[in-house]
Amino acid sequence: MTQKRWEHFAHGSDIGVRGVGGSKEEAFEQAAFALTAVITDPESVVPSELVELTCEAPDEELLLADWLNTLVYEMATRNMLFGRFEVQIHGETLRAKAWGEKIDALKHQPAVEVKGATYTELKVYRGSNSSWVAQCVVDV
């Protein structure tokens, strides 16, 4: 059983987000935690408000970038941060639920705003122990 987790990896000027899970969906969810963690501690985000999201892309890598970019858009326009995710992928379509709350500058101490998910180091693949890995660099 793969231990699901997220991590950051170094990039020259920006930052890489990586999610690892037992399924592609779980890896995408973990990548979303890594995205939130670029901005603030995901544990500090109370998942009180639900937002439902859908995105589509012709392959799973572009779908990952789209998923993260959809979250970036929702964070920007709703002035929210997300701390819980549920992802379903069927072919080229991703449907997700994301829970979060309004940004509170004092509580969340947001370090930086994410401008967008890039295609640099963009990979979705089966890692060791049949785990799934989903990663890319985000521009901050």
Binding site: H8, F9, A10, H11, G12, S13, D14, I15, I39, A57, P58, E61, L62, A65, D66, N69, V72, Y73, A76, T77, N79, I103, A105, H108, Q109, P110, A111, V112, E113, K115, G116, A117, T118, Y119, T120, L122, V137, D139, V140
Partner: protein, 476 residues
Amino acid sequence: MELKLFKQISGNEWQISPSGKMRVPGIIYATESLIRDMDQKVYEQVANVATLPGIVKASYAMPDAHWGYGFPIGGVAAFDPDEGGVVSAGGVGFDISCGVRCLETGLNLDDIQPVKEKLADALFQKVPAGLGSTGRVRLNRAEMDAMLSGGARWAVERGYGNPDDLERIEEQGCMKGAIPDEVSDHAKKRQQDEMGTLGSGNHYLEVQHVAKILDKEIAAAYGLAEGNIVVSIHCGSRGLGHQIGTEFLKGMATGAAHYGIEVPDRELACAPIHSPIGRSYLGAMRAAINCALANRQIITYLVRQAFASILPRVDLPLLYDVSHNTCKVEEHIVDGQPRLLYVHRKGATRAFGPGHPSIPQFFRTAGQPVLIGGTMGTASYVLAGTREGMALSFGSACHGAGRSMSRHQALRQWQGKQVVEQLGQRGILIRTRSYRGVAEEAPGAYKDVNAVVEAADRAGLACTVARLEPLICIKG
């Protein structure tokens, strides 16, 4: 990087000879020590850009080049539309027209010292900075489109500045050819609350003093003298630009095969200049340039208000406003012939030489001011474009120090509160909403800006005019 990868053309010019699918050579302008410290990815990315259709002369990298996405940050490349040339959303970047604006104040160090704390507080209170901060200017649909067509000119017409400001902005404050209809509703929505905001990351607003004049004649033409106080604003097109970058990157990546363009890296996604998506991107990207120019104009207005609340009789005229992430149509002489080229500058500053018609008349003979941002603890510079640079790099120079350390490493090494205290002991006041943000942007996480500027000067890309040191920094 290994020096043996390059053919050294001169002391500060290093060539990557064409191989594989490269259509032209790669050229990096840097000192030996900067080249050694550069990420190997810069080499790969410069070489990758050289494979794009219609590229003219060479794929260039400036002395502050570092690993970007697709193009290196500090990358410059020009494309000829009549030779199948392309436009690349990745080659412009997400923060379209991110740039630096410098305001003069007519004040000296002695005038500022007694009111420094009060001024820092007033600026921090007036100028929205950091994630989650919203602007006070909210645009309806018609006004949004007017802003996207008019840029800083729109802002001045709405009362956010003086007509005199416009001639001291690239494109006289208004990028022609912007098509607001090519900007998606998503991009417009993302911008709704973000007009007149600094953003975050490496964006800042600084009050600086001129610590050293390095070229008296040009400094005089620019109105700079030692001890003068200036204000520098570093920010871009905010959410609107980011969204345009995101959407067109996807559009170009999925459409590349349709145009038979093979790219070694998806991030290099591009489209022929003369294609529907190419034209559409150019229309949207120019609208984003106008958004950035309008944004810096509104921030200028807020800075002037903040100054007026503390120092009532002070005027803050513009020195100049430069953009870093753009694709612009420019005439350049190639092999003795004038050609209209689409010049991509990704993390690089336009640096036109003396006499260029786009430079304001009153300092045209001095060359275009090139504003180089440093870190909150080091220095910024004013340079001037050179005639030589026109031939070396399509009139382009570096844009900043460039990071030497990832955000992750910086967080492990520094604590924001300590960084603020240490800078305070050196007389630099920091105002921020996020200590973590300060730690990630700690001065030590950046390359030595002095070395970058020296390399640009030695390579002939630009001439060093003045060194600016920070007194107050409002961190985005």
